[in-house]
Symmetry: C2
Subunit: 165 residues, 2 copies
């Protein structure tokens, strides 16, 4: 199967929240997102990586318009779970390479990450699906990142899609 | 927009590899996946959460058939990056709730995580896209997890889809 790259999307409408050092036991993720749902916080990306010493971090992105409620709920969650703290980044950009067949072409992810590195863009979060490789980066680097990816993957600027929700 | 849950998928064909404590600077993710591509390691999920003290972890899943090459490449990457170590989990299951409209229904993720918790299933990794909430769990809990999610979301067993690649 060929890898087909159809475009690059960018979204600067969201903020990132991380609950740091939550206990790694059943019910914890449920509690975090039950509290967010109760607070009417919309959630886009959810990212949790492996634990160490019995704890891990849970990050998610939300519309910036939900951030006040998200912070209030995050503070309560930290107390309830006896997590260490929470952190917020209000200036992120979510960049996604959209395509197909990427699972059998690991070089595509490598090329995306190399392109961002060569453009001086640090990658903060990575999350993938079968049709999309998404990176969260510093918000003020969004233009640099998108242009570099277009050049690297031979996409004309007609393929730029700003995700609006 | 309504949240529509169309099914649950499960996949026990993959293993998880984590490069632990990589430096958080441009070029690191590129190096990891360039080495994996060079070693012909197919990569499905890639998960990276936020860094702490200048380091973070990078996890990915690969077909179990690629694991020998993945481990060899991971060992080389650890040395090249002066990461702390790498770890492997050969017995995982990837469970995905597939649907639409989930971003504006944070309760859906909460319900998925609560269902797994109530079934005694610990969640190891979480990654989402607009149409899918994916969790990596212990492989031997796959049946318990899938049945619990079917019941919780009112899906009949006709909706079980084993992902084969
Ligand atoms: C950390 C969190 O995901 C926990 N393992 C849970 O199952 O809820
Ligand atoms: C950790 C890794 O993602 C690093 N921040 C990079 O940009 O490559």
């Amino acid at each position: 199967e060929q890898a087909i790259i159809s475009g690059v999307t960018h979204d600067t409408s969201e903020a990132k929240v991380t609950i740091r050092d939550v206990p790694d036991r059943p019910g914890v993720a449920a509690l975090v997102f039950t509290r967010m749902a109760d607070a009417n916080v919309n959630v886009d990306m959810i990212i949790q990586n492996v634990s160490e010493d019995g704890t891990t971090d849970i990050s998610f992105t939300s519309p910036k318009t939900d951030l006040v409620r998200a912070k209030r709920a995050a503070e309560a969650v930290v107390a309830e779970l006896q997590a260490r703290t929470y952190s917020v980044d209000e200036s992120i950009a979510k960049i996604s390479l959209v395509g197909a067949g990427m699972k059998t072409h690991p070089g595509v992810a490598a090329q995306m990450f190399r392109t961002l590195a060569e453009a001086g863009v640090n990658i903060d979060l990575i999350s993938t699906s079968s049709i999309r490789i998404s990176c969260v980066i510093e918000g003020d680097k969004v233009g640099v990142a998108v242009r570099a990816l277009h050049t690297s993957f031979g996409l004309d600027s007609g393929a730029v899609v700003a995700e609006v929700s």
